[in-house]
């Protein structure tokens, strides 16, 4: 018993080590990227001319003076899609942990049926939205 516990602890520490190693390399890539952008911006700062005028700083609106505010109010038609999206995206996340084990020994048919129930729910939801006409504008 103690031996297997030791082995398990060892395996666990190995996993933890490789986990932290992996993500510290990823972090280093992020640092390299930030450095790249910083160097590019600094070099650009040294190279480019600076000659601002009032007209140049105006908001671009096809050459005429801008009308009203830039943060204009528009009709956001997409909000229904946003609801649908949140539902589907959250559901899709649950598929990944399931996907890695469902065909492993001891799972098989039952787990698959469960997935069909899951997909069935998604499909019915989509059909409902479709029937309600939220997927069409015209």
């Amino acid at each position: 018993m103690p031996e297997s516990t030791v082995a398990a602890a060892r395996a666990e520490s190995y996993f933890a080590e490789s986990y932290f190693h992996t993500y510290s390399v990823v972090g280093l890539v992020a640092v390299v990227g930030v450095l790249f952008v910083a160097v590019a911006f600094a070099a650009g700062h040294l190279l480019r001319p600076v000659a601002p005028t009032r007209e140049k700083m105006l908001t671009y609106e096809c050459g005429v003076d801008p009308v009203g505010e830039g943060w204009a109010q528009t009709q956001i038609r997409y909000y229904v899609y946003a609801f649908l999206y949140v539902i589907f995206a959250v559901d899709a996340i649950y598929l990944f942990p399931w996907a890695t084990v469902f065909a492993a020994p001891g799972f098989g048919g039952t787990t698959l049926v469960e997935m069909f129930v899951f997909i069935g729910f998604l499909a019915v939801g989509l059909l409902y939205a479709w029937k309600k006409g939220v997927l069409e504008w015209t």
Partner: protein, 320 residues
């Protein structure tokens, strides 16, 4: 000491790939588009068939004045290009190039990591669109957001289908489990993934967020010089990442004849062919309307990807 050197080499390699491959794709696009449209494309810069055109463009961008509109939200406006660009650099480290651990860094939850980080890039466009305080930019930003909702779900679902087939979410693990018959088995998922990826990159026929004939250049309307160049680099880096990812997930990545020694070449060839298709589609198809994209995504792509998941599940349980 050795492992430090190893990590440094990997970082340098990723940065070099990140800076070179997008330029190769860009130059190829100039030439391929030109020939498909019966013209020559750039011929002057560098002497031989205008090979240095993009270098010349870079020099031009670096010398241009950096204009930030007076009405804009200055900090967010200036930061947006970096947010759009860096996720693609991060993703590159996790993409396997060849067998036997030829990968920047084997991330355990690679597939998950890649999809999550790629989603961040869109924030750059949103920041640009909102911070510009320009009506065209705002419309472009809102269209970008709407597009995100259209493509993200089919992309996630088809990626989940590959994870089901392989029984792992590690990208090298997926390739180790790959067999040639996965290609016909996952073909529908592959097509959906690639189409959704085109929408993420805002490439034609899904380029309504930057539709130049309607809203100037969408979220990037107010940008000049270097910051504009970074947005362009982000687009082409995105093409490289999407094509590499499609090749790894659906076309077997480094698998092919003599993959033991030439695996990296197979990855490059498959990525290159897909990038060619991306360019080809740009030349061939007119732009969709925003609601047509939504309709395509919700009534065709998502049902197809759900069907693909069902197919994958049944086949996988039957053969195991």
């Amino acid at each position: 000491m050795d492992s430090t050197l190893d990590v440094v080499l990997r970082l340098v390699a990723v940065l070099v790939v990140f800076l070179v491959l997008p330029l190769v794709v860009g130059q190829t696009e100039h030439k391929v588009m030109a020939h498909m449209q019966g013209r020559l494309g750039p011929m002057y810069a560098g002497g031989f068939h205008g090979w240095a055109q993009l270098v010349a463009d870079g020099v031009k961008f670096a010398q241009k004045e950096d204009v930030v509109p007076a009405a804009a939200d200055r900090r967010v406006f200036q930061l947006a290009p970096a947010v759009a660009l860096l996720p693609y650099l991060l993703v590159l480290i996790a993409i396997p190039v060849g067998p036997h651990g030829f990968v920047g860094e084997a991330v355990d939850a690679g597939l998950f990591f890649v999809l999550a980080v790629m989603g961040v890039g869109v924030l750059g466009s949103l920041m640009a669109g909102w911070a510009s305080a320009n009506k065209f930019s705002l419309l472009g930003g809102v269209r970008t957001a709407a597009q995100l909702m259209a493509y993200e779900v089919p992309m996630l679902l088809t990626a989940a289908s590959v994870a089901m087939a392989a029984g792992t979410v590690s990208l090298p693990g997926i390739l180790d489990a790959f067999h040639w018959w996965w290609i016909p088995w996952q073909i529908v998922g592959g097509l959906v993934f690639f189409t959704a990826g085109l929408a993420e990159l805002q490439r034609p026929p899904f380029d309504m967020p930057v539709a130049d004939s309607e809203i100037i250049f969408g979220a990037y309307t107010e940008y000049t010089g270097l910051r504009f160049a970074l947005f362009l680099l982000a687009e082409y880096a995105g093409i490289v990442v999407l094509c590499a990812l499609t090749a790894v997930l659906f076309l077997g990545g480094w698998h092919g004849p003599m993959s033991g020694s030439l695996g990296w070449l197979w990855t490059l060839v498959k990525t290159g062919l897909l990038a060619f298709v991306v360019i080809w589609l740009r030349v061939s198809y007119p732009r969709l309307r925003e609601d047509q994209l939504q309709k395509l995504a919700w009534t065709i792509l998502i049902p197809l990807s759900l069907a693909q998941i069902a197919l994958t599940g049944v086949v996988k349980v039957v053969i195991s």
